[in-house]
Symmetry: D2
Subunit: 350 residues, 4 copies
């Protein structure tokens, strides 16, 4: 059975696992103070600040175990107690993290995103409405902006869109935080024009996803200007995210940023998604979200979906009518062309 429910279904990329195996019995200090984390941080910074210089030496990289942990720890660190975070109404922190942001004491202020994306205009409007509200002391102040690249619907922000969002955020003194849980698949998409250096220039905090992009687990949080989030290590510890054997994350990110592995991870997911997208479109199914990345959302007649369910697993996303279901198929670094062949064959048949 082909399993396309999500991109966290397999273990680690073989090169990542090999790195873990090779270093397994070494003894290092804990909590991210080891040489592997140090080396991985440097590799991540090299990718984000290829020109080196002051930015490269000022910026900080922290490794956390997972996305919800990264999101709630970063946001709790960025906000003052009276502030909330702006996010798309489909944003992961708004929908799928069991109230993790609220558990840190902060409200998620949702914006009506389009295809999972917010915009400089929506942020602008929200800030203006807050400013104009005579009872704004009784309202939650927008204190930071959260977005995902790619979004929960697989769509991506263009460079122009991110430039505009970043400009509003800086004008308003609101940090911009980019959740890159699936960043490898955005970077590898032919539709993408946003590079790691762009993110490092435009975001105030962002993370490079490992869990869904070839590692067993782990996200690399990059803070270009660390004055925005001082004392992050005790915050990670306090929120339960400081891995005792922190070097595992260093070893894995070192592997991901060696020999272009992070690019290869993304490229594999994107290539297989492209094949499936083509086949689903050719079959005449309607695309429910214009995703150019590794998540595909299609609306499929229920009888055909039933047949499909014998060869592939997926997530149900909604039911736009009695006879149709919208589902999500997700590809990743671990799948091969052979793996998806039965599904391509099914779609081509008739």
């Amino acid at each position: 059975m082909l399993r396309l429910d999500s991109d966290y279904m397999a273990g680690a990329h073989p090169e990542v696992l090999a790195a873990l195996t090779a270093t397994n019995l070494e003894r290092t200090t804990g909590y991210g103070t080891d040489p592997y984390c140090e080396s991985a941080r440097r590799l991540v910074l090299d990718a984000c600040f290829p020109e080196g210089g002051r930015q490269h030496s000022d910026a900080r990289v922290y490794f956390l175990e997972g996305g919800t942990q990264a999101n709630s720890t970063v946001i709790a660190g960025l906000l003052a107690p009276h502030e909330g975070v702006l996010a798309a109404d489909t944003g992961h922190i708004a929908c799928h993290e069991s109230g993790a942001i609220e558990a840190t004491g902060h409200k998620v202020l949702t914006l009506p995103g389009a295809d999972g994306k917010i915009s400089a205009h929506l942020i602008d409007e929200a800030v203006a409405a807050f400013r104009a509200d005579p009872s704004r002391d009784h309202t939650v102040a927008p204190g930071a902006v959260y977005l995902s690249q790619p979004t929960e619907l697989g769509t991506i922000y263009t460079l122009a869109e991110l430039e505009a969002i970043s400009a509003v955020c800086r004008r308003e003194g609101m940090p911009l935080f980019v959740d890159g849980a699936r960043l490898a698949y955005a970077l590898a998409s032919p539709a993408n024009d946003v590079t790691l250096p762009d993110l490092a220039r435009l975001a105030d905090v962002f993370y490079i996803g490992g869990t869904k992009c070839g590692a067993l687990m782990g996200e690399a949080v990059v803070i270009p200007n660390p004055s925005i989030l001082r004392h992050f290590t005790p915050l990670i510890k306090q929120r339960g995210g400081l891995l005792a054997k922190g070097r595992l994350l260093g070893v894995m990110f070192q592997a991901l940023f060696t020999d272009g592995l992070y690019e290869r991870v993304g490229a594999n997911g994107i290539a297989l998604a492209a094949l499936l997208r083509e086949a689903l479109r050719a079959r005449g199914y309607e695309e429910a979200a214009p995703s150019p990345t590794n998540q595909l959302f299609f609306t499929i007649p229920n009888d055909e979906l039933e047949e499909l369910s014998h060869i592939v697993t997926f997530e149900v996303w909604g039911a736009p009518g009695d006879h149709y279901t919208t589902v999500r198929f997700v590809t990743d670094w671990a799948l091969t062309r052979d793996d998806i062949e039965p599904m391509l064959a099914f779609l081509a048949a008739r």
Copy 2:
């Protein structure tokens, strides 16, 4: 250099790593819903409830990534908003978790432990003092009891002590939570008379440590009577501790509870600690805590410690005078007799 700073310095036990490698490219569902977690839960329950029956089928096992995460998530789940948790003043939650318990809104109510241990009597006194306080509505109510087996000083509770503590807790309706981050080393100590079935009978929640006992990371939280902590999964998710690739923890605990590996892990740490303890005593150093497990606390003249520091790393624990330092040496599953030989030789020399 021999590294004895802590027991989280190496990766995973080779049998654990082999299990991860063997299953690496399989695709399973996430967040602990996979067959490996299912199997590991059964193995853990078999060890805790060897007679099976109702208790075996009622009890629940959850896998979390680390100790601070397990402590704060469990305690936040056990306490009502007005309650705090009783713990030794040397308890890990009181000292070394960056205020993780307070970050969930609860006070740690410290008791003056002896050698890292609290007692039924101390708990009794604290509850009685709270009850007798005419302004107890202005005081934090003790709502649960936390202790570690072994403690942060390597000492262990006897069965009689745990029986007494458990009895007080049940009389008072306060759940007893046992932190077993290093449980393998307590279970393997010749001084120990507390078994896993004893813990499962006497504690209301406890965990079986993986991070320090052979796994890359992970703790198995056992809840004998799950009515005490319903809806634990969303709480784990909310606190950022629900591993997307949850099956990793299942695979690792399955390995740890196969072929007696958890016992072997503990036995290795205990055997090497016994050799070192003997040598340190023979050398005439004073033992700073009567630890029968894998942590050794000795007070050493500074000039000799300086020499030692050329062959072994350790943690400094305190300075009971200008010429002496108390240090901690920790053994674990990953060390061999050969590894510690230079230190034994140094101690025997003169």
Copy 3:
């Protein structure tokens, strides 16, 4: 200038102030343990449970200083850590309390209310959607229901509507919490068919507003079945709401529940609102919310509003176009027919 911005603009009803003055130099114990609080509790219970009996003796009444404090303290007490509270999107806790609920760690789950009201059907749908969600462990569970009587738009729930909502809540084991900050004005409305005994029967927690209904400050929180919210006093203290001179609230609520004062307070606000409503309608202004209580929402041409603003103050509620503004006028116990005469005259003129 006539001030109709809100119903908290004057001090206390003269009978309430007289009671405070008469008892001012008495010395009593603090924090609500005094005889005045005891007496006021009994009077409140007499009004809620006129038939006495078990319910009268079981129920509990607590006095808190204000509405946001009551809302956040009650809701924090009712919810488990993983739960959120259902409320109308116009609900006070969702909009105008600076994120007080989120500051206690819980999400406000908003429902698309109509005229400020939610319904049994909307609650039902929300619960069903949560139940049906395969990833509900990653979603915030609805754990309680919040509504206001009257609502923030002045509308009121009918007895039938409340019966239906209460039935859903009990079926689902979700406590129903009714915010009665302006309850006097609901009770006095000719459109109302919900009595205090009805509320005591249908709600699990509710409060009888004092701040906006004749007291200097204070809300009487009624808990018909106290097992739902044990240990409420330390929670009030912890959240900063336990007035040292708690007897002030007892003295004031004793006065409000003596000689039908609470009814008279409501009746005055309602009678004056009726006169103004009639005059505003007669003038041809459109009613923006069908409020039968003491808040009036009307859409007024900007040029006429400019003229009105010379004789009356109000709150701006919105701007449904370039030439119109929706405003709110609020009456209360402290205004007289003479006070509003200039406004009536203005409206009748032309």
Copy 4:
């Protein structure tokens, strides 16, 4: 019966009540935006910054309803998420606020106070220990200092002591917060050499107590340099402390700072305490804390205490043996010489 349990037993000073009565039916805007609060703020600033100038115009004054509310709101506003607050182990926030600080997510880091007081030296040591701790990222960082003037034991800090504490705090960048719930009684003590301008110069935040010093309720929080605590109003609202009829606090503090009332309030409490202290000492009872203010702590033989309990109420503070009890007597603005006469007579008898 003479009631000396505490200083919150009577209502408001007659001049304060007269001010409330005189303004009762006026209609003003809410939440502290009214002219009375404005005027009271100016009077408070005049008392704190008699020389006017930049400090007078920069400083901010906020009125909150009570002490626990002020403490938890200020401290939550001052601390970063990973920080805790240093306080005496007898400090009100450590002992008698039901975990209010912890409920905002922060640990109270206690120092072993002497007679209720901490010192520059103790703070220095705590900071040095934190700095020297190699695992300080796992420890709660001291982020602010809390002390009470007078303390919970009635003792007061000298100007030299406060200067030293303030100097350490500024050197370390830790705000100093002074709880002045009973400040009138410190200011009026003949032993005192700390003025309001001294506090305004040495503390970063402090409050001038109203609840125990002549008002029905209320504390005036003074923030000399408001950059330390921006956006305090939404924080007060969020924590439930923003009184709708905020003008009540303005009216009361206006009265307290008119015609030297705040001084008279303090002087009355101090004068009566002096008489009682003298009589208790003359009787031969041992003073349990060297309090020069309005709280008296004496250790009394149980048989004599039993007799005393027929004419006066008090709080029991401890039992330093089977035959003795330590109790607290508290005087205030509302008592007269006539009120305490029976107790003086009893003590003089024999």
